[in-house]
């Protein structure tokens, strides 16, 4: 579950990028975060991922208040939130496979099990047979899928993606959306920031619209307005809060996605 309560975000003494945002996302939802460029979509996702702190207000992710979370516990929350940023942040000094292995090395997983999970993740995103290639040898779409494989390999409970299909051709973008859809089907909560609402049609159950707000400031999604009517799948969906889907076993093998409960810091 993700809950924003009167969240403000500004940088330095500048005006608010996000102002008085409040909404709630139930586990297993597939949510599109839409809005024009510069509206604060990326900032919203970074706040959920704990990559940025809010200026004011409280953010709950799986029952953990991020602003109250000690710095030592933050990494354990991040393990439960898979993040795919606009820039893929792949490491070009190692193979594609080694990139996917990194989150599992962080967990200290047994090498055999880690390799099996990394291979499964690459297979899931359609990158089988490209394990030994350097990311620079992959196409833009493949690099994006590699970033997705890295984000899902440790089975996060929540997956957030910032413009994951930007600069991709239609077919590749659709393939990537299908991958997200599959993950959502096994119970992973999905938030995707995109301005390509047509592409999202038929995938996202509801939409959070981030747009310039009242009083000349940027407005976030207000309580009771968390599902503004719009075209596409979001318009067809009921609800301010979609019903959480039952969480089936993920296809990557092993245990289902873990909740974001901080473990004992190592």
């Amino acid at each position: 579950m993700i809950e924003f309560q009167h969240v403000f975000k500004s940088y330095g003494r500048g005006r608010n990028i996000l102002a008085d945002i409040s909404f709630r996302i139930e586990p297993g939802e597939f949510v599109l975060v839409s809005g024009p460029s510069g509206a604060g979509k990326s900032t919203l996702l970074k706040l959920i991922g704990g990559l940025e702190p809010p200026t004011r207000g409280s953010i709950l992710v799986n029952g953990q208040r991020l602003d109250k979370l000690p710095a030592r516990a933050r990494p354990y929350l991040r393990r439960a939130v898979g993040v795919i940023l606009q820039d893929t942040h792949l490491l070009y000094d190692r193979s594609a496979f080694a990139n996917v292995l990194l989150p599992l090395a962080v967990l200290g997983l047994e090498p055999g099990a880690a390799a099996a999970r990394a291979r499964a993740a690459m297979e899931k995103v359609g990158l089988s047979g490209k394990e030994d290639l350097n990311p620079v040898e992959l196409s833009g779409g493949e690099q994006q899928r590699l970033a997705i494989a890295r984000a899902i390999v440790n089975r996060p409970a929540i997956l957030i993606a910032d413009e994951p299909t930007a600069n991709l051709d239609r077919d590749t973008a659709q393939r990537i959306m299908s991958v997200f859809r599959d993950f959502n089907r096994v119970g992973v909560t999905l938030l995707i920031a995109s301005h390509d609402e047509a592409l999202m049609a038929g995938h996202a159950a509801r939409t959070l619209r981030v747009e310039p707000g009242r009083f000349g400031d940027w407005e976030g999604v207000q309580p009771g307005r968390s599902l503004p009517p719009q075209a596409g799948a979001g318009a067809a969906a009921p609800a301010p809060t979609a019903q959480p889907r039952g969480r089936a076993e993920p296809t990557l093998g092993g245990a289902p996605a873990r909740p974001a409960s901080p473990e004992r810091p190592r």
Binding site: L85, H89, L91, L102, V106, N154, P265, R266
Partner: protein, 302 residues
């Protein structure tokens, strides 16, 4: 526990990969640290070799009173008795070394045997050796007694036997302090070299650190490869420094042996014992890890 060990193994692999990725830079860094460490190591080799020499010789101040060669027989015993009577509290014990016994002892030394053989008689005087009783300000007391005794009629000269040992002790004390300062300077050099190496590594690994944090790496996980880098670099540099010092002692000892033989003596420089060397390697590795931690904490705040 197994997971913790696996993370350490991963950190070690990352460290070795980073070192191997820049072989020339890594080697140059190792060479600088090794050369810096070799200097105090050579200094300590000299100290540990000379110290036993100073210990073998008594540092208790002794005054030797040489009588005139024409002094009558029994004059030495009289002088000894006078010292015992008049300076009872200041000297203990007092012994007479007769000229014939002194000559016999000297003849036992092969270096002197030939020279003494050509002399017509015994050139040595009778002597009285007085050991100063323990007490404060031995040097001042020795000076005063020597001044007093030189006034006596049968006495030719008075010599403070342990002066050179005391000088050697003072020199060694000076060398120990110098070596300590040199070691401290080298420690600063090692700290600075490791700090800078880790800083450069941290900057070049900025993307990897950011990604590791993104996927949930703890700060310990991020820091660990850098700590290994510091510790490993310093440990290998220490071993290289020991090898360098051992190599340098070879020609030094050859030259020193020739010099010592010309004085009829045996003297060799040697490195401190294995225990001390192992402890030094561990201490330098710990210093490297400490410096690396400092550097990585400062340079990965992004």
């Amino acid at each position: 526990m197994k997971s913790w060990l696996r993370q350490h193994r991963y950190a070690l692999e990352i460290t070795l990969r980073r070192l191997a990725a820049q072989p020339y830079s890594s080697l140059a860094n190792l060479a600088v640290i090794a050369l810096a460490l070799a200097l105090p190591l050579l200094g300590s080799a000299i100290l540990v070799s000379v110290q036993p020499l100073a210990r073998q010789v008594s540092v208790t101040p002794e005054l030797t009173v040489f009588l005139k060669t024409d002094a009558p027989s029994g004059a030495a015993a009289a002088v000894a008795a006078r010292i015992r009577d008049e300076y009872a509290g200041e000297v203990d014990p007092v012994r007479v070394v007769e000229r014939d016994r002194a000559l016999a002892e000297l003849r036992r030394n092969p270096a002197w045997e030939e020279a003494l053989a050509v002399l017509p008689g015994n050139p040595l005087p009778d002597a009285v050796v007085a050991t100063l009783a323990p007490g404060p300000d031995l040097a001042a007391r020795a000076d005063r007694l020597a001044r007093d005794w030189r006034q006596w009629g049968e006495v030719d000269q008075v010599q403070l036997d342990s002066a050179w040992v005391q000088r050697l002790e003072a020199l060694l004390r000076f060398a120990r302090i110098g070596l300590g300062l040199l070691a401290a300077s080298v420690a600063v050099v090692v700290l600075a070299a490791v700090f800078n190496t880790v800083r450069m590594q941290a900057l070049s690994q900025r993307e990897e650190i950011a990604v590791a944090r993104l996927v949930g790496a703890t700060e310990s996980f991020v820091r660990r490869p850098f700590l290994y880098l510091g510790a490993l670099t310093c440990a290998v540099a220490s071993l290289a420094a020991i090898a360098l010092a051992a190599l340098a002692l070879g020609p030094l000892n050859r030259a020193l042996t020739d010099l010592a033989h010309s004085y009829g003596a045996e003297f060799l420089l040697h490195l401190p014992g294995a225990g001390v060397l192992v402890l030094s390697v561990v201490a330098v590795a710990a210093l490297g890890a400490l410096s690396a931690r400092w550097s990585v904490t400062r340079n990965t705040r992004f």
